[in-house]
């Protein structure tokens, strides 16, 4: 699953993930908008709690990640939100590990962040129903992206692809469906009752510094 524990990955993968996460976090914190703080905190809390509801599938179990939703609603702040959620899950529940914090942050937040940045501007112009469909696509793709990155991290740490790929595929397919449904419903609902949620999200991006 997305919470890779200590002792599975090789050192180069850990260092690469840690460096990428640190750089992304620094960038994201510079772009953090004070008006978005409550949204970020709520989504971080939702992410933190969502991992406690896991369903066993085959030899493993899955739970919601909500990265697609985070990417659409809070953009760059997905990174700190996921980082804080993962840190607390590691310290309090022993999910994942401290050494893999960087890799896990990148794996979970990365796809959601990229999709959110790409699709959030489109979302503002859509009706709630269409926005829900687009968000479902984003949520599903974000989960699939996380699955791909987890498999990549495992294979790069010299786990055999033949052993990893079928399990990752089998566990992430239901997750993709679940994420798509939850993200779609959540965005369509937010779009209906608080359309300004998505109007505000890309604003700090447009005004922000371009690296």
């Amino acid at each position: 699953m997305a919470h890779i524990p200590d002792g599975v990955l090789s050192l180069p993968v850990l260092v690469a993930g840690g460096t990428l996460a640190a750089g992304g976090l620094a960038l994201a914190l510079r772009r953090l908008d004070d008006r978005a703080l409550p949204k970020v905190a709520i989504l971080a809390a939702a992410f933190f709690v969502a991992s406690l509801i896991a369903i066993p599938i085959g030899p493993t179990s899955v739970h919601l990640l909500l990265a697609g939703l985070m990417g659409l609603v809070i953009g760059w702040a997905t990174l700190p939100a996921v980082f804080v959620g993962l840190l607390l899950q590691t310290v309090m529940f022993g999910f994942g590990g401290l050494s893999t914090l960087g890799v896990n942050t990148v794996n979970i937040a990365g796809p959601g962040l990229v999709l959110g940045l790409a699709l959030a501007p489109v979302l503002t112009r859509l009706s709630p129903a269409r926005a829900g469909l687009l968000a479902a696509l984003a949520g599903g793709l974000a989960a699939a992206g996380t699955g791909g990155l987890v498999a990549l991290a495992l294979v790069a740490s010299s786990k055999s692809l033949a052993a990893t790929a079928p399990i990752v595929l089998a566990t992430y397919l239901p997750l993709v469906v679940g994420e798509a449904i939850v993200t779609g419903l959540a965005v369509s609902f937010l779009k209906r009752v608080r359309p300004e949620t998505f109007a505000a999200a890309p604003a700090p991006l447009a005004a922000g510094v371009h690296p």
Partner: protein, 203 residues
């Protein structure tokens, strides 16, 4: 509103088999056999995951998969410290170790029983001939002591197994305090950030 209700119902349906998300391994020693199972904290056995049993130096002693109930069983040929690990193939890993002392007296009860059955007939004629009927030879006494020790170890192992299982299951389980504490931490961080912003931009 209806959508919200549906969303909540959907979440609830997902939450009913609520399980925390962490692979763990339970192992205990009974009568010289290591047995146990792999499970996810909060319930659910991990069936068909790769299992390896190694000694302290990393030599592979046993490799295979857990059965349909996530269980495994292994009989080492001598009392030895074991490191048991399971790996689900998608990044879940769990490891536990068993000390050589755990195999102690109960290591090979069939062997001990066999030795006793050969010892007692030998010892039996001796007390019959001499006056004290229970004057066993020192060797027989030592063997009986070992046998009693083995039987006690087996009985204790059977009694403490449920306790060990309960401990393994509760260890690492997400408690309500932890969940609320984590949410409080996030709220606090949010407040800290808001305070930082307010100091940076006094208006």
């Amino acid at each position: 509103m209806i959508r919200l209700v549906f969303a909540l119902l959907a979440l609830l349906a997902v939450a009913i088999p609520a399980q925390a998300h962490r692979l763990k391994l339970f192992a205990t020693v009974e009568a010289g056999n290591v047995s146990g199972y792999a499970f996810f904290v909060g319930g659910g056995r991990a069936a068909g995951v790769r299992l390896t049993i190694r000694d302290r130096d990393g030599h592979l002693l046993h490799g295979g998969e857990t059965d349909a109930d996530g269980g495994f069983r292994f009989a080492p040929d001598r009392p030895i410290a074991l490191v048991i690990a399971v790996e689900s193939g998608d990044g879940h890993i769990a490891e536990t170790s068993v000390d050589a002392e755990r195999f102690g007296a109960g290591a090979n009860p069939p062997l001990l029983a066999a030795t006793l059955s050969t010892v007692v007939p030998e010892a039996a004629p001796a007390p019959a001939a001499e006056s004290p009927p229970l004057d066993l030879s020192a060797a027989a006494e030592a063997r009986i002591a070992a046998l009693v020790e083995a039987a006690t170890a087996r009985a204790v192992a059977a009694q403490i197994r449920p306790l060990l299982e309960a401990h393994a299951a509760s260890e690492g389980r997400a408690r309500f305090n932890d969940i609320v504490g984590g949410i409080g931490m996030i709220v606090g961080l949010c407040g800290l950030a808001a305070w930082g912003f307010s100091r940076r931009r006094p208006s």
